[in-house]
Symmetry: C2
Subunit: 455 residues, 2 copies
Amino acid sequence: MTDSQSSKSRPKVVVLGAGFAGLNAVKTLGSAHVDVTIIDRNNHHTFHPLLYQVALAVLSPGDIAQPIRSILSNHNNVEVLMEEACQIDVVAQTVALKTGIKLPYDFLIIATGSTHSYFGKEEWAGVAPGLKTIEDATEIRRRVLLAYELAERQMVETGSHAPLKFVIIGGGPTGVELAGAISDIANLYMLRDFRHIDTSSTEVCILEGSTSILAAYPEELRQKAVQQLQALGVQVRTGFHVTDVRPGYVMVGSERIESACTLWAAGVQGSPLGRMLGLDVDKRGRVPVDKFLNPKGLPNVFVCGDLAYLEQDGNAIPGVAQPAMQMGVYAGRRIKHLVQALEVVKNFPGFRYFDKGDIATIGRKAAVAKILWPFRANWSGLLAWLTWMGVHIFFLIGFRNRVSVFASWARTYIRLRDGVRLIVGSRELPGWDSLSKETMPAPEPIDQAFAAESK
Amino acid sequence: MTDSQSSKSRPKVVVLGAGFAGLNAVKTLGSAHVDVTIIDRNNHHTFHPLLYQVALAVLSPGDIAQPIRSILSNHNNVEVLMEEACQIDVVAQTVALKTGIKLPYDFLIIATGSTHSYFGKEEWAGVAPGLKTIEDATEIRRRVLLAYELAERQMVETGSHAPLKFVIIGGGPTGVELAGAISDIANLYMLRDFRHIDTSSTEVCILEGSTSILAAYPEELRQKAVQQLQALGVQVRTGFHVTDVRPGYVMVGSERIESACTLWAAGVQGSPLGRMLGLDVDKRGRVPVDKFLNPKGLPNVFVCGDLAYLEQDGNAIPGVAQPAMQMGVYAGRRIKHLVQALEVVKNFPGFRYFDKGDIATIGRKAAVAKILWPFRANWSGLLAWLTWMGVHIFFLIGFRNRVSVFASWARTYIRLRDGVRLIVGSRELPGWDSLSKETMPAPEPIDQAFAAESK
C-alpha cells in the first residue's frame, strides 16, 4: 500500500481460498479502490486439472503450482496471508483466523472449494486416497509407484507377485483421467524400467455407481470414452456400488475385487467453511447462493466455485475450474460496482451555500448591494439599483415575464406613471368604518381586468 | 411518460412546494431516470423578490408568476399536482394528500418554505398583512390603494382626511423595499391621479426592533440605506418593539403611532410540514439538516430552502432565494447520484455460467471433448487430446510452468519415458505388510530431488 492515507477509508475485501475462484476474484479487484486480503492454508495455487499428472508422475508438483504471492505480486492493494480461517461472524463482519486474529471485512468472498466425500465412510480415506491437493497427488504417486516396486521385489524374493490391479472408484473426469494415465505409464513409459515384472500386465478398473461414466458428456462421447479406455485395457464397470474398501481389495456387494492400489474419485463435499455462515447447506455441504452469488440475506458475502450451489437452466453449475473462474471474476466485478456505488454516496460533497451577495432596493434609482461575486464590492445608489434590475430580470422565470416586467419598469420609471393600481377584492379597510359602505362609488369592472392580466 | 415499461421500476421522487428550491430540484432531476411528482397548493411559481412590486402596483401578478406546468412542460418525467400535503410517513415512505391519496416516494424533497410569524400574536395578522404570496401582495395593494381612495373620499365629503401614514413593521429587505416603493408611488407615480388629496403628504415609517435595518449588510451599506430612505421621506425608527397592532394604529410601549395601513415584514416561520417529520424543529419551525440537506436519520428526505436550518461558517444560511435555488439544485443532484448508485446495485446482471465445453483426457492421444464455444462439436481421439493439451497449457498459471509442462509433455509423450516417477514419503503401502521393512532397498536421495523440483 503506497498511500496509507487513502487506504484507510477503503473498503476491505477478504478472500478465503486461492483456488480458481479466489484468485480470479482478487485479480479482478487488483485495480479497484479496495484493500484485499487473500487467505489460504497453502502458499501456492494449484492447477487442479493437471493434478492427476502429478499423481501419475508425468509432471512435478512445481509444474502445476505457483506461489500465491508471486501470482499477485503486481497488485499493490492485495495482501496474501498463509493462514486458516476458522470462524465467520457475518454480523460483526469479521473472519477469525486460527492464530486468533480477527480480520474485519466489508466484503467477503468464500472460495474454499471442496474436499473428498466418502459418504460417511471416513475409514475408507486411508485406503483409497482422493485427489484434491498436491499432497494427495504425491500420496497417490507414492502408492502407485510403490505397488510396482513391491511387485518387483516380490518377484525377486518369491518368483511371483500379486496382480498389479488398480481400482479407481468413480467414473467422472478424474477417475477416467487417472485410469488412462495409469494405463499409459504401465504400458508405455515404465516398460523398460523393471527387470522382473511386466508392467504391461497392469490391470486398471473403473467402478462407477451410476449407469455411465462421464455423465456430463453426450451419449456419443461417453461411448467413445469407453472404447478408448477399453483400447488401453481399462475395465469400465458401471452400476457397481462399492460397499467396502479394504487394504488389498474392494467389495461390491458380495463380490471381492482385488486391488493393489485403490484410488477415490467418487464424491466431493463443500469445505467446512460453508457451514460457518450459519445458513442451510445442501447435502454435499454446498452453500445455496442467489444469482449475485450471495447466500441468503448476506449481500456483502460471496460464495464462489465448488462451494457454491447455484442452478442454471435447471441444472446445478458443476464444480469444475471454468465456472469457478467465472464466479471469481463476477464476484470481483460486483464488489467493484458496489464499492463505486458506496463511494458515490460517501464521497458526494456536502451542500455549501455560495453567497454571491445581496441587493435590497430602496425605491427608484436607490438600492444597496453587497456584492461577493464575481468581485467584492459594496455599492449603493443608481449602480446598485441597475444591478438589482438586471439580476431580477435575469432570474425571473419565463421569457414573457421578462419582457413584460422590463416594459413595465421602463414605462413606470421613465414616464413616472402607469403601473397596475387596480384594487381587487373587498373595498373595505379594517378599521376604516367611519365611512359607510353606501356612500362608496360604484365599482369599475376591474375584476375582469385582473382576471385577464393574470391569465 | 413515453416508456411505461421502464418507468415502473424508476425511483419515485416527490417534491413538496414549487418555490425556488422545489423548482430547481425538479429541473435538475428533469433528465434523470426518476419519476418526479411536484405538489403545490398553487398552480403557479411566484418570483418572491418582486412580490412587493405587485403589492405596490408596479407589476401585475401575472408578471412575476408562471404556471408550474408550463415551466416544467419539457420534462416528460415530471408530473405536477395542484394539491396539498397533510401528512408524511417516513417509515412507509408515503405523503398523504388532502384528497386522501397516499403518494409513495423513494426520495422526498420538502421545500414548502415559510410563512409570516406574528410571534404568537395571530390576531395581528388581519390588521398587518405580510407579504409571502400573490394573494398577500394583492391584499396589500388593495389596502394601500384603498387608503388613498378613502382619503380622497374623506376630502370630498368632509374637507379633510386622516393622515396618509403607512407603518411597516420590520426593517429587513422586504420592509425596506415596501417602504421605498410606497414612497415612490406616493411621491412620483400617483401625484396627478387624485384631485383633492396630495399624495406626497404620505408618511412612511419603518419600525425595526433591532438596532439597525438590513442587518445582513455591512455597516457602510446600512448607513447608505438609511440615508436613501430618509431622502425618500421614510422615517426609520430602530429599537422599536411593537407591542400591539390595531386597526388605525400601532403601539410601541405606551407610544401610539397612527397608521392608515400597517404592513408586516418582521418575522417568518417554517411551513407546518416541517413538523410532520416528527423531528425537532428550531424556534422558527425550521428543520435542522446535515450537510446533505437530510434531516437526522432520513437520508432519502431532503429539506430545502427557507424550511431548512443549516449553519455555515457559524451562521445560519439565510432564508432567501439564492440559497433556496442552490439547495434545490443540490438535492436534485444528490438524488441523481444516489439513484445511479442504486441502479448499479439493482441493475447489475446476475451471474451466468458461460459453459465453453468440457474435455476429459483418457491417456495418451485419447480424449473426449464436448465443445460449446466458439463452435459446437463433439470430438474424441487425437483432435480432442490436442485441444486438451492446448487449453491446459493456455490456462496454466505462470510462464515458467507453461514452458516446463510443455517440455515435460513433449519429452514424455514423444520419447515414451522420463516423467518424474519419484516416490516421496513413507515406503509402505497399506495392507502390504507381507514384506518386512528390513528387506527394503536403501532409499535414494530423492527427498532432496523433490525439494529442488518443487522449489
